[in-house]
């Protein structure tokens, strides 16, 4: 089967988020970058499905020049080729992102049996790009999926709900947005990384457009005044911890 997996490059934020002085972005000067967590699992799932059913997988991203790094990471674990929709650094909103992806899929010409997305990007959390792409291509869509099994022209997908699972069924081709936990992504091997350098990566520059959700600025949530009470050092602090448990009525 032929699979397309769409990913996003996001900063590794650590303990605190600092903004740029114009409040338009996160100050990433001292940060590393990664594939957004749900999409990292989408990449792994694509590789596993190809290992099981044959075919090939393609990875696509919309992002700055440096997002090529995340495409190479995906190819290092077994994706065959990459499509880079290179942005000029400006953020594309969900409508603009979906439009650019749909245009790229049409231009690419390949027919995909399955299109995988993350349920939502770690940074913008828009919850809609995969769904919009599905409608533009006339495909069924299932979101928030943690298990996929393909049987011929049908796909069964499981979504976790409180206390159990919902089981969805749809015909292929289809769009599925996945959640972390669907698998445990492998680490790229050194030979995998070397191979990835030689795999094909096509780059185009889609035009930025206003899709109707325009960022004005980013802001840190108001911080509550905060004081930590040190109960002690090492195991000698245990009696004070248990006093606290008693105070809170947890003993």
């Amino acid at each position: 089967m032929n699979i397309l997996v769409c990913i996003k490059r996001v900063p590794l934020t650590g303990g605190k988020i600092s903004l740029t002085t114009d409040a338009q972005a996160i100050d990433t000067r001292l940060m590393g970058f990664t594939i957004s967590p749900h999409e990292e699992c989408a990449v792994e799932e694509a590789v596993r499905l190809v290992e099981k059913h044959g075919g090939a997988a393609t990875v696509l991203t919309l992002g700055p020049v440096d997002a090529a790094e995340q495409l190479r990471d995906a190819m290092a674990i077994g994706i065959e080729r990459a499509i880079h929709l290179e942005s000029d650094g400006r953020e594309f909103d969900p409508v603009a992102t979906a439009n650019a992806i749909v245009e790229a899929i049409r231009a690419d010409g390949a027919t995909f049996d399955l299109l995988l997305f993350g349920n939502e990007a770690a940074d913008t959390g828009d919850f809609q790009v995969g769904v919009r792409v599905a409608y533009a291509l006339g495909l069924p869509c299932m979101t928030g999926i943690k298990e996929i099994s393909v049987n011929g022209n049908q796909v069964t997908a499981k979504r976790e709900i409180p206390g159990g699972w919902e089981i969805f069924d749809a015909p292929l081709p289809a769009v599925i947005t996945v959640k972390e936990g669907i698998n445990l992504p492998r680490y790229p091997s050194l030979p995998g990384r070397l191979k990835a350098k030689k795999k094909p990566l096509a780059t185009t520059q889609p035009a930025w457009q206003d899709g109707g959700l325009q960022k004005i600025k980013l802001l840190n949530p108001p911080e509550e005044a905060h004081q930590v009470e040190i109960l002690g050092k090492g195991p000698e602090a245990a009696p004070r911890v248990v006093d606290l448990l008693a105070e809170l009525g947890l003993l």
Binding site: G15, T124, F168, L213, L218, V228, E229, I230
Partner: protein, 323 residues
């Protein structure tokens, strides 16, 4: 008119819908617009009365045999028909799993922009919304356009509050025209997983471990402490990524949201990804060797020390006091 989708699953209403309804009503009052609700299937008398108390004057009720089991596109089609017939200024849903999904389908069907997980909104020709990014670690102020503004409201951000004056609700039942395409992806079965264990989301005490735990075996002492307190054990994304705990135990943006009386975090650095999941904890006790770890800026109480010594000492002290 402002429309709010009320999410219910087999008779059980998602409470987050009433939070969305509260924000929607604030906007409706500001712009002097009537407040309508929509739901799928049937509505109990209690639900209709509660909607009235929240200021709703009309409930649009979509009824169709094919809506008995969840099909996101079909549910969305029901809302699209209300949009087409009544042209609301805005349509709201809870920023829950289904609310976000259904509203994304509505947005894709109507080609309208949508803002997910809003915590504030101001009306106008364009709306100005404040919405969550990074699971709530960061906020975005954005302009939202569209003939009908589509928004979901982040759960637990706006307390549900009834209106000053209750309304009498007119119920408008209708049968949406569903196409074959609306029914391609649908729920065909449900599986219940009965585990005797107390869930992370419900536990009054959560003992969480991070990289500092060191190994899967290292969690034994955390399990022991949780057992003594009738609590549950969780871990950071590092821990589930390393395979020390199953993903189902993850606390964080891509895992569980916890809301215990006390969260005891052991060897957790306190990355924002993790803290988003622990935000609902009433108190946080951090056990960490590093007094400068990020977790110290979020914790209420701390023990500076090695969890491998501190946690067993706490267990021993609990046993001693209980005799």
């Amino acid at each position: 008119m402002i429309l709010v989708y009320i999410e219910q699953d087999r008779g059980k209403v998602n409470e987050a819908s009433f939070e969305a309804l509260t924000l929607a009503r604030q906007l409706a009052e500001m712009s002097n617009a009537p407040l309508h609700a929509s739901a799928i299937g049937s509505a109990s008398d209690a639900l209709v009365a509660r909607l009235g108390a929240f200021g709703v004057n009309t409930l649009h009720l979509a009824q169709h045999a094919q809506l008995n089991e969840y099909a996101p596109a079909a549910y969305a089609q029901s809302i699209v028909e209300i949009l087409n017939a009544h042209k609301p200024d805005a349509a709201f849903a809870a920023g829950a799993e289904r609310g976000n999904e259904i509203m994304a389908h509505v947005a894709a069907k109507t080609n309208l922009p949508m803002a997910a997980n809003c915590v504030q909104a101001q009306t106008g020709e364009d709306y100005v919304v404040t919405r969550l990014r990074w699971g709530g670690s960061l906020l975005e102020e954005a302009k939202l356009k569209g003939a009908t503004k589509l928004l979901t409201v982040a759960p637990n951000s706006i307390p549900a509050q009834a209106a000053a004056h209750a309304q009498t609700v007119a119920v408008d039942a209708f049968t949406p025209q569903l196409s074959e395409n609306d029914l391609r992806a649908r729920v065909v079965a449900r599986v219940e997983t009965a585990s005797g264990k107390i869930s992370l989301g419900e536990a009054r005490v959560v003992v969480g471990g991070g990289r500092g735990v060191g190994s899967a075996e290292g969690f034994k002492i955390l399990e022991e402490l949780a057992d003594l307190l009738g609590g549950a054990v969780g871990g950071s994304r590092v821990v589930t990524g390393l395979g020390w705990r199953p993903h189902a135990d993850q606390i964080g943006q891509t895992g569980n949201r916890i809301q215990p009386e006390l969260y005891i975090s052991c060897g957790v650095s306190g990355a924002i990804q993790h803290m988003v999941g622990a935000k609902g904890a009433k108190h946080i006790l951090a056990i960490n060797t590093d007094p400068d770890a990020s977790i110290m800026f979020k914790a209420d109480y701390a023990v500076i020390g090695d969890l491998h010594q501190v946690v067993p000492a706490i267990c021993a002290e609990i046993r001693k006091r209980r005799g």
